[in-house]
Amino acid sequence: MCGIVGLFFKRGAATSTLGPLLVGMLSQMTERGPDSTGFALYGDAAPEGALKATLHAPNVEYDWAAFETELSAAFPLPSPARRYNSHAVFTIGCGQQRFLAWLARRRPELDTFGIGERIEVFKDVGLPDAVAQRFDLQHRSGTHALGHTRMATESAVTTEHSHPFSTGLDLCLVHNGSLSNHNRIRQSLRREGIRFMTDNDTEVAAGYLTWRLRQGMSLTRALEAALADLDGFYTFAIGTRDGFAILRDPIACKPAVLAETDDWVAMATEYRAIATLPGSETAEIWEPHPATIYSWQRQ
């Protein structure tokens, strides 16, 4: 099972309609994934030279103020931090590698769920409505978003094992399905310097794409390579800084529906999630073909 949803506005600035619409879509996918829920939002960009990091603390009482004091002594923080339950978003004026190395040394208890110019990632165990409320999704804005409701099949039900998985700058992936050769690929990706937080198969797919993009491949080329290298059944929805892509495995084991209007593209495991969107009655609706990459880039 599992449910995935994606909503991508083709043009214009970050809109405050994104959060409420994503809440509605995720809620429709409750039965498909009651274990955990997560979402990635692509919002306003961090200032030039800075990155946004979504950090996850082991408990909601975590002393973020003390952390911020320590962080500000090490790096410039051009925007104020925002706190959402066990997560907090910091805007940090330094590069990814320097920050992650500092964090691993100073605060190993914190996980980085997403890092990039625009991405923010939130995920936790619980039903979609509850998790959306926990992270105030109703009041969040952005240009595009991916969401996932998880029914766990191959690894534990924890916050860390929830989707989306982000292993590279502004890249994230949600997945419905299961990969069969993820252990071997994880091993080889580790040798290439890709970091993994869990033993989850989807994180391997995200890491694989990060590795291919790092080699200089376009997202489309990276997905073509994934078709050859990843074994299993899957529907992937992928978000990048300004893009959105969908891929189903060659035998289309897992369901997916795409819908497009002049303003937006939406993807969901089932149509009922798309039916919640304004304009869905007149949208072009189709089922993506197997082993075919569908991608959009913001204008």
Partner: protein, 227 residues
């Protein structure tokens, strides 16, 4: 005409009303509004009533249909008319995978395209698709007829028993033990009659026929690679 608005009442309540109908019912014409992709709409109807659903439906719409005439004025999700016994189910848009799966009788008409595994394990149903079908359609079909006015995806009729397949367009590839067969006089008639019943315009003379080579019925060492 009885109208049921699924924005106000549940699918379960609708289906219970449909299941309670008696053969002599006067409630013969139903219209369902705001389906919004809900699953299992009008499943298990056993009386000769007409149900029109205005919008897109989710999974398993019109499953196990017996005698009813069900029309979806929109697209349909996975498993449309699964295990249909009799009556007819029509989709004015596209149908997702496994349409008419294991159908035993009746007629399923998809005016648009059907995706993968259309007619999988069909056991007597007649299926007419106005557009194209996806891969592995009629997989393990045992009886019945699949008519495709457009193209067929890969592995058409894989491991077929005895169902008949007619395709007007191209076939990406045939599945194991599925072969092209000659169109006989009766076959043109069969296609023309079914197109007529389905209300789909098509020229029977454009169709090619595919069926089982019957080499997978019993294990044969020469065919080990095909199992």
């Amino acid at each position: 005409m009885i109208e049921v608005d699924l924005a106000r009442s549940s699918v379960r309540a609708l289906n219970e009303r449909l299941h309670r109908l008696s053969p002599a019912t006067n409630e013969r014409y139903w219209r369902v509004l705001n389906p919004n992709g809900a699953h299992a709409i009008a499943v298990g109807v056993t009386q000769p009533v007409h149900v029109e659903i205005k919008g897109h439906v989710g999974y398993y719409c019109a499953g196990m249909n017996g005698a009813a005439t069900i029309v979806v004025d929109g697209h349909a999700g996975t498993g449309l008319a699964e295990n249909i016994m009799s009556g007819s189910v029509r989709v004015r848009g596209n149908a997702s995978q496994s349409a008419a799966a294991s159908g035993r009788g009746g007629l399923v008409v998809i005016e648009g395209n059907a995706s993968a595994r259309c007619g999988i394990s069909m056991k007597g149903v007649a299926i007419v698709v106005g557009g194209s079908v996806g891969h592995m359609s009629a997989f393990m079909g045992q009886a019945g007829t699949l008519i495709v006015c457009g193209d067929a995806g890969h592995d058409l009729g894989d491991s077929l028993y005895e169902a008949e397949i007619f395709v007007a367009g191209t076939v990406a590839s045939l599945g194991a033990d599925c072969v092209e067969k000659e169109m006989a006089e009766g076959d043109f008639e069969c296609v023309a009659t079914l197109l007529d019943r389905a209300g789909i315009v098509g020229d029977a003379s454009c169709f090619r026929r595919y069926g089982s080579a019957r080499r997978l019925y019993n294990f044969h060492i020469d065919h080990a690679a095909e199992y």
